[in-house]
């Protein structure tokens, strides 16, 4: 219990941390885009679209992420045709202009899909409350200035809504980082999984979990710091204009 972890195990934890960050970042990007779309759908004119959107939110928000991950991991494998599964499981090399990306494992894809579907509902609700936080007078003022509805939305409503929803949005990014730990249940070798593995190999429980906990806290603190920086720069920009 009194010595530190061997470099080999630190490397495991470090790799796990890399997967956690990669998963959280890609989920955050996708869920932000989809969540924004969801917020627009919930404000749609058509009743049917509103119902579908709120039904999606109800189902994905009120069932545990763990069950959803298992659904995607075990369920999708049986739903997809055989050929698609073999295609997903064979490694492909993605070449994006000099940058080669390794094809992720099926665990990663299932985890990414589950986390994205789950986080989209929360981020969508943050955007929706941001949109609702813009006073109705702003719509009328934009219309009175002769802006078309689309231009009014783009130049008047959206900037204000984004500023309102920014702090809760960053809170959701923190949740994505924390929720990514659940993907260990479907066998993705991210940080929690790695810490558990190091623990079983070395019996240095305190060091293994301590290192993982510190890395999580560090990530959350960095997101918090990013929010502060973002808000400062935003405040300065709006001051200047």
């Amino acid at each position: 219990m009194n010595s530190w972890l061997a470099p080999r195990y630190l490397a495991w934890l470090w790799q796990g941390f890399g997967i956690t960050l990669g998963l959280a970042a890609t989920v955050a990007i996708a869920a932000t885009a989809l969540g924004f779309g969801l917020a627009l759908l919930r404000n749609a004119r058509s009743r049917q679209i509103q119902w579908i959107a709120s039904g999606y939110v109800l189902v994905f928000r009120n069932s545990p992420l763990l069950v959803q991950l298992m659904f995607w991991y075990f369920g999708v494998a049986t739903l997809l045709p055989e050929a698609a599964m073999t295609w997903l499981n064979t490694p492909h090399i993605l070449a994006l202009g000099g940058l080669t990306l390794h094809w992720p494992s099926f665990e990663f894809i299932a985890g990414w899909l589950g986390l994205t579907c789950y986080s989209t509902t929360f981020i969508g609700e943050e955007f929706r409350s941001g949109l609702r936080g813009v006073p109705a007078g702003q719509y009328h003022a934009a219309a009175a200035l002769g802006l078309r509805p689309l231009a009014a939305f783009r130049y008047v409503i959206l900037p204000q809504a984004v500023r309102i929803s920014m702090p809760p949005l960053f809170g959701q990014y923190m949740n994505i980082v924390k929720n990514s730990s659940l993907t260990m249940a479907i066998g993705l070798a991210e940080l929690s999984y790695a810490s558990r593995q190091v623990d079983t190999e070395t019996f240095k429980t305190f060091q293994a979990f301590g290192a993982a906990t510190l890395l999580y806290i560090l990530t959350i603190a960095l997101i918090e710091a990013a929010l502060v920086v973002f808000q400062r720069s935003g405040a300065r920009m709006s001051h200047r204009s």
Binding site: N62, S63, F74, L79, S192
Partner: protein
Amino acid sequence: MHLSVLLDNLPYLLLGAYPDGPLGGAALTVLLAITSALLSAVLGLIGGVALALTRGLAHGILLAGIGFFRAIPVLMLIFWTFFLLPVLLHINVPGLATVVCALALIGGAYLSHAVHAGVLAVGQGQWQAGLSLGFTRGQVLRHVVLPQARRIMAPSFVNQWVSLVKDTSLAYIVGVPELSFLANQVNSRLMVYPVQIFLLVALMYLLMCTVLDRIAMRLLVYGGRRPIAEQAGFNTSLGTPRPGPI
């Protein structure tokens, strides 16, 4: 679809091995959720009141402690309690107790901030009014501030409890036979119906969460006794007299 297979397993998913063995499944999930919800409410009340009453260094330490629980994943805390509680207490702690402990701590940390915000929202005037009536600080808190803060805090409590119901599924990781654990067990036994099984389980959680949401909201926000001040014709949220009937 093959509903009969699902129906055969439904009692197992609901109760586990109950009449012949330990309680499990959805019943255990409900039990787990209720226990940790009550504990988290108690911790949240204590933490929130402490946040409202402390200043300076003590306040900072308290904030850091609460921040720690809010920054780490629930799963990580379950690992900590699962491996450290037996070491600290020198007894064999069952997995169930460690999960309750972890969920209560996380829930309590989040609720502390809700309670703190609720107490602040009631306003300084209410404290002064209570003190000038001869109440002690404890009495003001108990009889004046907290009853008014209850309505403000209620939505946060309900939200936290709903996410707590979902988080009970993490007990799966340490082998507690609650609903998700059994779902996984049934899935590996049957092999061929993962979609149906996990849809059914998700639906069961959905039902639990929505029912909890409706009942708790009704009880905490709309139900209960109305504050005396309001009955006497005072608008409690502003502390100013409401215009009487003309």
